[in-house]
């Protein structure tokens, strides 16, 4: 009996999660990177909390952005090398849908852990506890959009050997709106003001990403398989 689209996506997701837990170093690297980047700010600027609080939104968001980019290279590469993507493309299931499941797994493995440790980094930068809900919400939405946007870049650079740098160059400009609105939401949350407006814009980017990014990624994967 044929597998339904939902069951197939679930299998793709479970498979990626299981694989990631067999290879933990890939999971931990982006997180460590994020922790170190945010720790560098007190060292390089000043340990004074009032000044750190001013740079906190930028520090957190640049750290999250770079950590997400770091993790992107592994999104499709292994599956392209061993022919798994070929099997997905020929499975009779929608490739767009399967790649969306893969991207969701990628977010669960990088974006979600980043969301969990972002408040800790924020507190160490002198951010008041009242700002944490805003930071959590904006990082969660922002990293989700970054995973989706990054999926397009990762799929486009499959044909390039050592495409890591190219991938970063390709994805960074697309990621700028996420950085701008994310940092703005964090800033407003720290000031204690309403951060709803930039959060809505982040949500809009995420919705746009969900609708268009898997389609673009699937088209790019098909081209790379040809």
């Amino acid at each position: 009996m044929r597998t339904s689209a939902l069951a197939a996506a679930r299998l793709v997701l479970l498979r990626d999660l299981q694989l990631a837990f067999r290879k933990r170093s890939q999971l931990v690297q982006p997180l460590l990177f994020f922790a170190i980047v945010t720790m560098l700010f007190p060292l390089s600027i000043s340990p004074e909390l009032s000044r750190l609080r001013e740079v906190a939104p930028g520090a957190i968001w640049i750290g999250a952005l770079l950590a997400s980019l770091l993790a992107l290279e592994f999104l499709f590469r292994d599956d392209a090398n061993d022919g798994t993507l070929e099997q997905y493309a020929l499975s009779g299931q929608s490739l767009t849908w399967l790649l969306f499941a893969k991207t969701a797994a990628h977010w669960l493995l990088t974006g979600l852990p980043l969301t969990v440790i972002a408040p800790i980094a924020a507190l160490s930068l002198g951010v008041p506890i009242g700002a944490l809900p805003g930071i959590l919400a904006s990082i969660a939405l922002g990293t989700f959009s970054l995973s989706l946007l990054g999926a397009i870049g990762a799929a486009l650079t499959l044909g390039v050997k050592r495409g890591g740098v190219l991938l970063t160059l390709l994805t960074l400009p697309l990621a700028l709106p996420v950085l701008i609105f994310g940092a703005r939401a964090t800033e407003l949350a720290i000031e204690g003001a309403s951060f709803a407006a930039p959060l809505y814009l982040l949500a809009a980017i995420a919705v746009l990403g969900v609708t268009l990014a898997p389609l673009a990624a699937a088209a790019a994967v098909r081209i790379s398989l040809e």
Partner: protein
């Protein structure tokens, strides 16, 4: 309705190279087509063109008389393609690999997976991570996956590579059973498979 595959005047270019120069082929239910030719003669390109991964510059592929590009999904549910590389994850065991790989296409229980793995002689190492297996053992796991996919049209790229004499026999046996059950097989081969009936041959060098 009888299943059939036809390739009509397939031309494929790879940059400046004219890889396929007007290949014609035809295959009916219960038949095996062996594609022979030297290294670099375009065997793999032909397989990838037939399954729809590569688009030919000219010509078309017909499945049951219809152009496959009209209904690529329908065509793909009927076919199974096994390339050079085994689509297996080094960190998962043979059982886990098959459960995910096959499960994406059709329901299969772990009992199905185990019996398919037993059949290819993988009983003793089916729960070992694939990274610890030899190239021949991986091939065997891939063959077990192939039998589980329930596709009627098989495209095999050198199914016998890395296999011992017993493994080669297993390949012939599995293919013979598939043909007897009304399947179609296109295989790119160096050494011709030993099958008695219903074998067609396409030599790419002379095509």
């Amino acid at each position: 309705m009888d299943l059939s595959l036809r390739g009509e005047r397939l031309h494929l270019w790879r940059g400046e190279r004219h890889v396929l120069r007007g290949v014609d082929l035809e295959l009916r239910q219960g038949e095996l087509l062996q594609i022979c030719g030297a290294n670099g003669s375009g065997k793999t390109s032909l397989l990838r063109t037939l399954c729809g991964l590569s688009h030919p510059e000219e010509g078309r592929v017909l499945w049951n008389g219809n152009d496959v590009r009209r209904d690529l999904f329908g065509f793909h549910t009927a076919l199974a393609y096994i390339g050079h590389e085994a689509p297996l994850k080094a960190d998962l065991s043979a059982q886990e690999n098959l459960r995910y790989w096959v499960g994406i296409r059709s329901r299969c229980s772990s009992a199905d997976v185990d019996s398919a793995l037993d059949r290819v002689g993988a009983k003793d190492w089916r729960d070992r991570p694939v990274r610890t297996l030899s190239a021949g053992q991986k091939r065997r796991v891939t063959l077990a996956g192939l039998t589980l996919l329930r596709a009627s049209f098989w495209l095999l790229d050198e199914p016998g590579t890395n296999l011992d004499a017993q493994g080669q026999q297993l390949v012939s046996q599995i293919i013979a059973e598939h043909l007897a059950g009304g399947g179609l097989v296109v295989a790119a081969v160096h050494q011709e498979l030993e099958l008695r009936t219903n074998v067609r041959r396409l030599d790419l060098a002379s095509a």
